[in-house]
Symmetry: C2
Subunit: 154 residues, 2 copies
DNA sequence: ATTTCTTGGTTGCAAGATAAAACCAGCATC
DNA sequence: GATGCTGGTTTTATCTTGCAACCAAGAAAT
């Protein structure tokens, strides 16, 4: 989005998605979509961003298969924007960002919204990375490996 | 960084961190930092970004307490950039982004690097959000609640 | 059917962010 | 004490972003 030297060529799964969600309006749009917002105007009022920007962002998200335009919902001839399966796949990322934000961007005792288990109203657990055997992994416990398998293509 | 209407006022923990890591270079710098890179030149060669941009980004990350400048390491009079505790707190976010990237930005069979458990060399488990009682939570199973407690401040 | 309002979106232009390159300082090497 | 490498800063050109104004298609009112 913001770059011309595309990241699509790297073998790093961290870098590639950045063309799709590399600007953070997109992430806020997706957050709002998870919160149930669907209409152009809803996003615009919620985020307070310029309409042209929202227009471009929505189009980009649709092109990347994160949002989908669906015909209607309340009968009006307008379209709505709904998360695709790919878009819903961003849920853990949003949660991770949310938990990090809670940890480091709020004064102790400062009010903030909280993600809770709808069934019991309790706050959700923290995300934690685990090994196959169930051990919690810290950054130092992990390493990047070149490739899952040589994948002989010839 | 990219915005002037600061997100610092919202009560949403998703929005606030965006001033700190809201530009996408920062996330790649942090990824590289998790991979052990520490020197200005290392980041620059790894990312291929302009030196002035790197300079600004590193300074911003330091100001936000995500990186820390430490005096040396190999004796040279230069400084290095090391992740702080706050910076290391971004690990789940990076992992979430990585897993999403793996899921949706690589053709089946296409090679990509893999995050593995250093101890056994096995790929790590997927991140999953759980309720207090251990149930796996999907987006629809959660809801945003206004505030943990009224927190009487008077 | 004509005005009017809302929704969704496009088009300019000014401001800000980015990139490439030149430049510079400190240290090492020769 | 010239040359070259590392780690930046400054300069300049370009590209993107955001605001504001405008516009088209419904929907609603008259």
């Amino acid at each position: 989005m913001v770059k011309r030297t595309s990241h699509k060529q790297t073998a790093c799964p961290v870098a590639r998605p950045l063309d799709a969600i590399g600007d953070w309006w997109s992430l806020l749009i997706i957050r709002d979509a998870f919160d149930g917002l669907r209409r152009f105007g809803e996003f615009q009022r919620s985020l307070g961003l310029a309409k042209n920007i929202l227009s471009v962002r929505l189009r980009n998200l649709v092109e990347h298969g994160i949002l989908d335009t669906v015909p209607a919902s309340d009968g009006s001839a307008y379209q709505e924007y709904a998360l695709t399966e790919k878009g819903r796949g961003l849920f853990p990322l949003l949660v991770a960002l949310r938990q990090w934000g809670e940890d480091y961007f709020f004064a102790p005792g400062e009010d903030h919204v909280l993600l809770t288990d709808r069934k019991h109203g309790m706050p959700v657990k923290r995300l934690e990375l685990r090994a196959e055997d169930g051990r919690i992994l810290k950054p130092e416990d992990t390493i990047i490996s070149p490739s899952p398998s040589p994948s002989p293509k010839g």
